[in-house]
Amino acid sequence: VENVRLLDRLSSRKAALGTLYLTATHVIFVENGSETRKETWVLHSQISSIEKQATTATGCPLLIRCKNFQIIQLVIPQERDCHDVYISLIRLARPVKYEELYCFSFNPKLDKEEREQGWKLVNLHEEYNRMGIPNNYWQISDVNRDYGVCDSYPTEVYVPKSATAHIIVGSSKFRSRRRFPALSYYCKDNNASICRSSQPLSGFSARCLEDEQMLQAIRKANPGSDFIYVVDTRPKLNAMANRAAGKGYENEDNYSNIKFQFIGIENIHVMRNSLQKMLEVCELKSPSMSDFLWGLENSGWLKHIKAIMDAGIFIAKAVAEEGVSVLVHCSDGWDRTAQVCSVASLLLDPYYRTMKGFMVLIEKDWLSFGHKFNHRYGNLDGDPKEISPVIDQFIECVWQLMEQFPCAFEFNERFLIHIQHHIYSCQFGNFLCNSQKERRELKIQERTYSLWAHMWKNRADYLNPLYRSDHSQTQGTLRPQMAPCNFLYKFWSGMYNRFEKGLHPRQSVTDYLMAVKEETQQLEEELEVLGERLANLQKSQLTDNKVKTKQQDGIKQLGLSTSNNSLANTPQEYSNDLKSFPSRSPSQGDEEDSALILTQDNLKSSDPDLSANSDQESGVEDLSCRSPSGGGCLPSEDSGKDSDEAVFLA
């Protein structure tokens, strides 16, 4: 469709005119007329909702909201065309078959072996070995080898030595979705462990010998403690209500030597609504401080983040400080349980704070344990009530921790943002389907590529320059401050306002420090080389008695442009109170705008953007998603009234 305008959402005056294309996998807007064609690409998988707004004199507005929080505002001249685009997008954004997804056509031009190697990068078997398993207390069990016991669990599960197949099977029958207690994390220093499961089908009074034996086995696997914690991550009321449905929670009377604990984290519906409310706050046009703080509090979002974090802290403390094992569950054991176990693991074990370790953590607690990626993130069209930002919350917990402990993580914010992006993008096959079983049936590893391999290849972009493995902050358990700590939870504008350039610091400290680090390293290496040469020279001088002056090779001049001072930013609109006054002016034409062909090299630093890979099949050059924030040089102007009370600058 031609003559479509792409508005800068923040300043309705800035509109780029161009052509809109719809392909099998993307929506593409190509700007007319500039020397360099500016392109905006959006994957259909990213589309969360499409809103057709009232036709105005200028055309028919179409608002596309994405799962990565990008918002695209288009104005299509003809109503007929707008409607066609709308209907098409609705269909394209709601695929029915997996094969419609981008990962099945995406081609990064790797050969079969490279693809396979990519999938092998993360190996859970190695991970459990690293933890020290199998050992005297824990073993691998193949009872689920054909998914016969639990179809949402992996084929390889780790259980206490004293848990026989009989006990496992018996316990699985007493657990919701047959998700029996299995090992998530083992601390070899003190034998304490984190196990996870779903809720027991205890109702008001039902018991199951094997399930009780299972918990005993977990307890016995830790000789250092005579009890285990059983942590139910649901609010007490919800758990109790479940009893009426024949499910519920563990009765301390029936299970010997357990200490039961509720840690109320709300359910997926509450979280979905919470995010929705928060995004509405983000969409407010020039909100006051009051609007923003009230809106944020109203959404409850940070409260939920803190609840998840507090649960993780409780479990980490139990393991590290008390040396007590913990069994964690919620209802089905695949949402809150995953969040809480992975936060606890991150706090406990510095390995998970490395890039590789983090990938392993997600493979373990989210993928292998059957978190329902498809249902939660809408790979395919499904029940909207299943959609919920569960892993987004976990990723945010990690970011909050990174802010509190800047030296403790090997990776940076961009790493997290890209992972979140790709969970929804379906460009890689890692996060498809609802379980390991489904992924294997679909032969994901033979037909798609692994995100981890791709990110690993680009790991230089994802490093945290402040990370040092020998730094005190990076070692051992992380102990976030308990009360008072409300103020420590910040609004993550890097994620939720990701595409609003005007909001972010113009320059990345991370990138600068990485560049400094690299340069220092190169200089040091050169220094070494020169030192050796000098030593050799001196030696040969002594032996040969010849004096030769060598012309030194030019030392690489790494001009470190620290501040890209050419990145002049623009004043936003500093007036307030005028309704029609857009509040933010877009960033001035800067490097991002001038490098308008979006190759991977150009997408750097402050634009946390994406994998650019050529796709031969669709015949398109570069695939990257781009923020629509246009390049304007002038602050938005408004035709204001001239009066004594004139409150703005015209």
Binding site: A483, F487, Q507
Partner: protein, 324 residues
């Protein structure tokens, strides 16, 4: 950029030829200027009843008046006190923290101050127009705006030395009554009438700038904290008294030591430098969106929460930069 106090128009709309001429000489033929009045239009009008007022358009035709009300005086002090109370309150749950923070209004004041300073800067840099800033007395919100605008506009005000010069010029010599304003701080029950944390508000705004432009200020948060401390209680005479006149009468220069002399000693100076600094010749335009304005944890939680991890991060940054 000029600053003054309010014109004494009074209820009878007095005129003053000399004042009009003075402002007239600032502008060339056909040029226009902006007057940024830090009182609301209504408050400015009401000021006439007590002998003050605003510049009538007819008498100052080349000047366009903009009102940007900024809080000062008791309400600002209350805001400060409430914020400190909230920060110390360990009983607040997460689900009430943000509304409690909001009810203090401190961050709204930061937003307003930054916005107004940016407006002044915008008039000068974008409109290439002269600006006159005043409130009532010209000693509080006026100085907040002019000083902040200069940090935004002028790279030389962002150096360690330049910033000190800015403070001397726009706060101390300009007559901000430090003795009255920085008397007892937030814990005191005294509730003095003349006390108000304008200078802290200024420092907070500068901190916001340092967060948004981490490479552009030569000085670190440590300097801002030190300035805050010394404004209230100091071993040095720099922030004593309420005006140059008083300092003269008290013979401050003869009887006390200067804070600047201490800070600038080579051994001390290091603490106050920003390892990421790199001269930025451009104007720095901050975002004043609520998401961009944060609570200054380093100040408000200074004694409540260990800054160990952040300090370690800064030490690491220092190490990386020095290693290079």
């Amino acid at each position: 950029m000029l600053r003054s106090s309010q014109p004494l128009t009074g209820p009878n709309r007095k005129r003053c030829r000399e004042d009009e001429m003075l402002l007239g000489t600032v502008l060339d033929e056909g040029e226009r200027g902006f007057i940024i009045d830090t009182r609301s239009a209504q408050a400015a009008k009401q000021a006439r009843m007590t002998g003050g007022g605003t510049e009538p358009k007819s008498s100052y035709p080349q000047w366009r008046r903009l009102h940007r009300p900024l809080e000062r005086g008791r309400p600002l002090q209350e805001s400060f006190i409430k914020l400190v109370e909230a920060c110390n309150d360990t009983s607040i749950n997460m689900d009430r923290w943000l509304s409690r923070l909001e009810s203090c209004r401190w961050l709204s004041h930061v937003k307003a101050a930054l916005s107004t300073a940016c407006l002044a800067a915008q008039c000068m840099d974008r409109e290439e127009a002269s600006v006159l800033v005043h409130g009532t007395e010209g000693t509080d919100t006026t100085l907040l705006v002019t000083a902040l605008a200069q940090v935004i506009l002028d790279p030389s005000c962002r150096t360690l030395v330049g910033f000190q010069g800015l403070l001397e010029r726009e706060w101390i010599e300009a007559g901000h009554p430090f003795h009255l304003r920085c008397a007892r701080s937030a814990y005191s029950h005294a509730r003095l009438k003349q006390e108000a944390p304008l200078f802290l508000l200024f420092l907070d705004c500068v901190w916001q700038l340092s967060r948004q432009f981490p490479f552009s200020l030569e000085f670190s948060e440590c300097l801002l904290l030190t300035l805050f401390d010394n404004a209230y209680a100091s071993a040095y005479g720099t922030f004593l008294c309420n005006s140059e006149k008083e300092r003269c009468l008290c013979k401050v220069k003869e009887k006390t030591h200067s804070l600047w002399a201490w800070l600038n000693q080579p051994g001390e100076k290091k603490k106050y430098l920003n390892p990421l600094y790199s001269h930025n010749a451009l104007v720095i335009w901050p975002s004043v969106e609520p998401q961009s304005i944060q609570l200054w944890q380093g100040l408000f939680f200074r004694w409540i929460r260990s800054s160990q991890y952040l300090d370690e991060a800064w030490a690491e940054i220092q190490r990386l930069v020095e290693g290079n």
